[in-house]
Point group: C2
Amino acid sequence: MPQERDLEAVKRAKSRFPLLEPIARRWSPRAFRDDPVEPEKLGSLLEAARWAPSSFNEQPWRFLVAVRRDDPEAFEKLSSCLLEGNRSWAGRAPVLLLTVAKTYFGDDPTRKNRHAWHDVGLATAQMVLQAAALGLSTHLMAGFDRDRARELLAIPDGYEPVAVMAVGYRGDPETLPPDLRERETAPRARKPLEEIAFGGRFGAPLSLRPSVEVEEEG
Amino acid sequence: MPQERDLEAVKRAKSRFPLLEPIARRWSPRAFRDDPVEPEKLGSLLEAARWAPSSFNEQPWRFLVAVRRDDPEAFEKLSSCLLEGNRSWAGRAPVLLLTVAKTYFGDDPTRKNRHAWHDVGLATAQMVLQAAALGLSTHLMAGFDRDRARELLAIPDGYEPVAVMAVGYRGDPETLPPDLRERETAPRARKPLEEIAFGGRFGAPLSLRPSVEVEEEG
């Protein structure tokens, strides 16, 4: 991979303000090396998720981990739930992981947790950034057959499959088919900050210039 | 705050595996100092959220920021949406921020984005960890009047208020009323890893012991 450094530079987040290194560096590749993920690194990923905040500390997240070399059958089951466009590349990652949301509070299925998916998102982001900090890459996928996942992986009532994540060491973009290779090496794009961050009400501009008070305090 | 160091130790995540420092250190205080948040640090928080991954790169997150000193009226509006139990302490934070989910893809309100709240969670976690990296504390709240927020803050149809976040520098627990003071200094609790992380199917144990292959590769 002669353009390895170039690709990291191309993919790096463009920000007007300093960013935590794993946030700046993280992106979602499709090419993965065949190398396994060290079990202790998987442990760090899961612990990172575990310590996320959640509504009423319900911790509505569950994670099903399928390691290709250790349990090819489980890996194949989860891989078979992916839509074809994802399976073609994600099936070659060393680890697939399904995130699952518990949709009610405590032991009472009638007490719906409106923030279940949101909180799974909080935990998943901590996992994704922990991975980036350890030199691992991740790629989250919404495109999979939820009913099939529920059945094949024995997801109980009251729990919902949310996303599938590929985990591994990033590979050579040249191993991808041409259309995916092009996306793999394209710069990342985001809406301008002004379109997502507002002042006191929706749509109002937000000023991020240093205020007089801040300057006075040095 | 003579017990400052002790409190950081009490609150630190207990993990069997190494954690990214802001993940290990982050917790959700209720006592905030009166000091303002530097605008450039707010900028880093919002950029951190901006660069999160999302389904189809829809970026369904919006953030309404209310800075108490700069715009007391906007701050009071958002603060007035909090349930009383939250308003008592969060109303004293220097910044309140409302996270909002866009619930459909692109320009077509009929194309529902099932992952909207999840992806707001991803972006919010990046913001929370960026804050921790900058020495700031955050506290996410689900307890607020969504209808009131929608009306007072002009949230359009197709967008949903998700959570309110207090942002600031952590304060002295002694400034809190006795019941909250006790919670402020109690250790953080999480389910054991075994209850949230499974092997190939729901409920199956996951082995995180180093495999022979990994040992062979050094």
